[in-house]
């Protein structure tokens, strides 16, 4: 039998019906190294609608990561990725918001768009915004799949938050516990405040994030609440956690 058409190989997937993705709406917050790739994966899978948030512009320093091209330097990231996704799969509706989600128009857009989404992919680069997204997704009851890479660029983690069911980002003691947390902020290092970014790690984390998102959207397999990828040892670890009843974000005392 000839296998033709854009989704022909996807239809051969036996664990779930991937055509159901056409009715799904996914928000991607942050379209940098992780988010741009995750958005492309979701678009190629045939997710019906993607809502992208990022205030940043493409810089030459971003070109070591995937998706962006040299000719796009200076463009808003969400605009550049929107054009890319339309070329990759014209079936996908892409809405882009070139604003900061923690302030002004971006916050308004986030409050308008996210409660109508089936899932949020968190691909941001700071813990503060990650915790902010976590709090908002828990409040709006929208599942969040958060991904991140370590400062040295070689390790990564994916956290799946299903409000009311799985532990939220703040319950996650292994992710937050850091021996330096109880000490004052370290400023001894003379390096500039920029972290390494490796396209290989980004691709691994974005793929893991999309894999978990897929399972969550279509309800097959077993979703891992917290996945840690150790690039130096080539190890992937699934960590089971329990909800913290005293968690200030999702705890029962709240």
């Amino acid at each position: 039998m000839a296998v033709k058409g854009r989704y022909a190989r996807l239809r051969l997937f036996g664990h779930a019906d991937l055509s159901k993705l056409a009715s799904k709406r996914v928000a991607v917050v942050g379209v940098g190294g992780l988010g741009a790739l995750a958005a492309e994966i979701l678009a190629r899978l045939g997710v019906g609608e993607l809502v992208l948030f990022d205030y940043d512009t493409v810089e030459a320093a971003n070109l070591n990561r995937l998706v962006y091209r040299t000719s796009q330097v200076g463009q808003k990231k969400v605009r550049a990725i929107r054009d890319h996704l339309r070329a990759a799969n014209p079936d996908v509706t892409v809405t882009s918001h070139p604003y900061d989600v923690t302030d002004g128009k971006g916050l308004v857009a986030l409050a308008k768009e996210v409660p109508r989404c089936d899932l949020v992919l968190g691909c941001v680069d700071t813990f503060a915004v990650r915790l902010f997204l976590n709090a908002k997704c828990v409040a709006w009851r929208v599942p969040l799949v958060d991904g991140g890479a370590s400062e040295d660029g070689i390790n990564g983690s994916v956290h799946v938050i299903v409000p009311g069911k799985t532990p939220c980002y703040r319950c996650n003691k292994p992710a937050l516990a850091d021996p330096s947390a109880s000490r004052p902020t370290r400023r001894a290092d003379d390096r500039a405040c920029h972290f390494a970014s490796l396209p290989t790690t980004m691709a691994v984390v974005a793929s893991l994030q999309c894999q978990e998102a897929l399972k969550l959207l279509l309800g097959f397999g077993s979703v891992a609440p917290f996945l840690q990828y150790f690039g130096l040892e080539g190890r992937l670890e699934r960590i089971e956690m329990r909800r913290d009843p005293r968690c200030p974000t999702c705890g029962r005392t709240r």
Partner: protein, 167 residues
Amino acid sequence: MPRMVRDYGEKYLRMEDDLFYFLQCATVASPKEPAWKDRAAEERYALDRFVEYLKFLEGDEWIAIRPTSAAATRWTGKVRHGGREWDAELVLKDSYPHVPPACRIPELMHYTDRKVDDGVLGLRICDMHMEKNYWWDEHASIAMYLKREVSYWVQSVVKDMRGKGWL
């Protein structure tokens, strides 16, 4: 008058791991929400307690910050350390207190790498490390940010500049 942290009880606040719990705020409200005026009053109250604490220490450190915009989203003042004084500016985004404030100390910005630059708030002190050593929550206040972030940032930058002979 808003309820202060001392009237609020231990239920919602982290007391066991932070001696400076008295700098926390009980009301959780963003600048665009009606309860923001209560929160802003609590922020001022916490700042006063922080200044009292600095006075008690009798150290060579002083921070005086007050709101300078009508909506209390921009707080400006002075930061003093090691006999020198700089203007400081704190900007609160609409999602504050879910995200920490951003701080700018213009006279020190050009001499250090410990800064971040983004398209929204421009050049500001680097708090990447704070975010990693995560302690910020919705009850944390501007006073706590000054104590646990700005103060250490200034100390380290001043030490670094002295080492290089710039100060």
